[in-house]
Amino acid sequence: MSVQGRDVGPVSMTCEVLDRRRLGRYWGLTLSAPEIARRAAPGQFVNIAVSAPGTLLRRPFSIAGAALGGHVAGTIDVVLDPHGPGTDMLAGVPPGASLEVLGPLGRAFPLPQRRVSALLVGGGYGAAPMYYLGERLRAEGHRVNFLVGAADSSRIIDPIVPKRMATWSSFTTEDGSMGHRGRVTDLLAEDLETTAAEVVYACGPNAMLAAVGDICEAAGVPCQVAVEEHMACGVGVCMTCILPIHTRKGVQNRRVCVDGPVFTSTRIAWEESRYTETAHEPVDDDLDDRDASDHDGRGPDDSRADEGHFTAGVRTVRTGGRR
């Protein structure tokens, strides 16, 4: 197996597709990727090369799970929503085929340093990295609660997973086909109280994240979000995936791929971005394969001070961290 890269950080490797399964309207892929699985942490993403005619760039996907051991030595899971030539191609890749994968990329979610009750909020297939995070938090002894929402039940990824994993879980769909009819933001304030949440982690369309951040701020609960933006390279050189971030020098553009995709929600200057709370549209264009699943990350680059915002205190995840 060919692996390119250094001893830490992302690697490029050829990965066998071990399993492909339907998850409502999405597809789940399990890839043999020992070196990536070993280095990955929740919130990070991988860039997968596609070979559809006319495509050029890799597609980013949040890591939805990672497992070490077994006879294949290490696997990662990704969830994809076929809606462009790249994701259509990936949804059709049969087990046994190989894919070129680069990762893990971006900064991971900071993890609480003492035991907390955490509320994980997922919108659409933005729930994918939350399942990986939930497993990690539970393994570390935290109380894990889920609030998962989507347009309809076919867009709730594998609902049995949060039901099994979480102490408490609730679901929303805009058409009422599962759980509460409406959006996650309808229930969030109430769920914060119900779960006695001390920290919120969220991933989904940016407009949802902006609204979730506002509700958490009003409730005084620290919130980490994994954001989405169109990206070309995923490694910090193309400068396309920027987001306005509050810094000591005022609002500055930061790269979602390497400075994020995880940011402390209060640091994001949504009002200077194109995302508004009224439009819950996902990023959707042809590179769209990378929609809500392009996240990764830890706190933002110069946000070390922010980590104090976490009442629970956070620990920087250093696996495969970038310099």
Binding site: R58, V237, L287, R323
Partner: protein, 324 residues
Amino acid sequence: MSTTTRPTGRTTGVDLSVDLGGLVLPNPIMTASGCFASGREIDALWNVSELGAVVAKSVTLEPREGLPTPRMSETPSGMLNAIGLQNPGVDAWLERDVPWLASRGARVVASIAGNSVDDYREVARRVAASRSVAAVEVNLSCPNVSHRGLVFACDPGRSAEVVRAVRQALPDRPLFAKLTPDVTDIARIGRSVVEAGATGISAINTTLGMAIDAETGRPKVANGFAGLSGPAIRPMAVRAVHQLFTELGPEVPIIGMGGVRTVTDVVEMVRAGASAVAIGTATFADPFTAANLVRDLGPWLGRRGHTALADLRGRIEPWPHHPR
């Protein structure tokens, strides 16, 4: 499992070195400005000193935050981008990035940009103070504020004016003028900047394009117009490089770029007339592209009996005459 280490300086018996008007590089593989930042991110993956040279992202006099998103959109075999020259400003770049690149052993080419002749002159003056900058590329694809926002590179006179100013501020370093293909006669612009003091030419910059979402009616890149790059523009680049080579002759070095991804793309560009070849958008698709080209170019040439890359420069073979 251990990761692979990159074979550096593998001897293949093929001479890959290039001399760009005094800038001597061990191999012809460079980076296209704006596609490699200033090297740190890629150095997390492989040693950037393996490159012939690192051409950094363009710097301006003042820091710039750039344009709003979306800044990119994939197009058939290419991509559109409009970043708006987001950069930390020349002073911060000289303070933070150049010493780091030098410490890594990389050969550093600055890319400078501005909106007036004075801007370029001042940025060049500051860059000149750093001995770690081996050469300068002048990004002429910037709007000229005193000329209705028309980009400098579209006008032979304005291009020459900028190059003359930069040359005065930076008399002792190889200087490359980066040209846009969006002109009627790129050879004429090339002639003009060489007469104004450019050591050589970098070609091509992106070509202006646009994409619009049929349903929403919104431009796919927020700026509306955006630069097209990638394999989609490679034939344009090969054509432009060959026109420049034909016009300027073998004495004027050319850094060829535009959609180069594979070893055969590199050789094609050299045959068109490039002395060295820069890798741009291909790095976005695979950040190991340039490293793989450095590794694979020599063996490819060696297997075909070539002993020096430079021998192939401008070498285009005619088709045999077809008798009727």
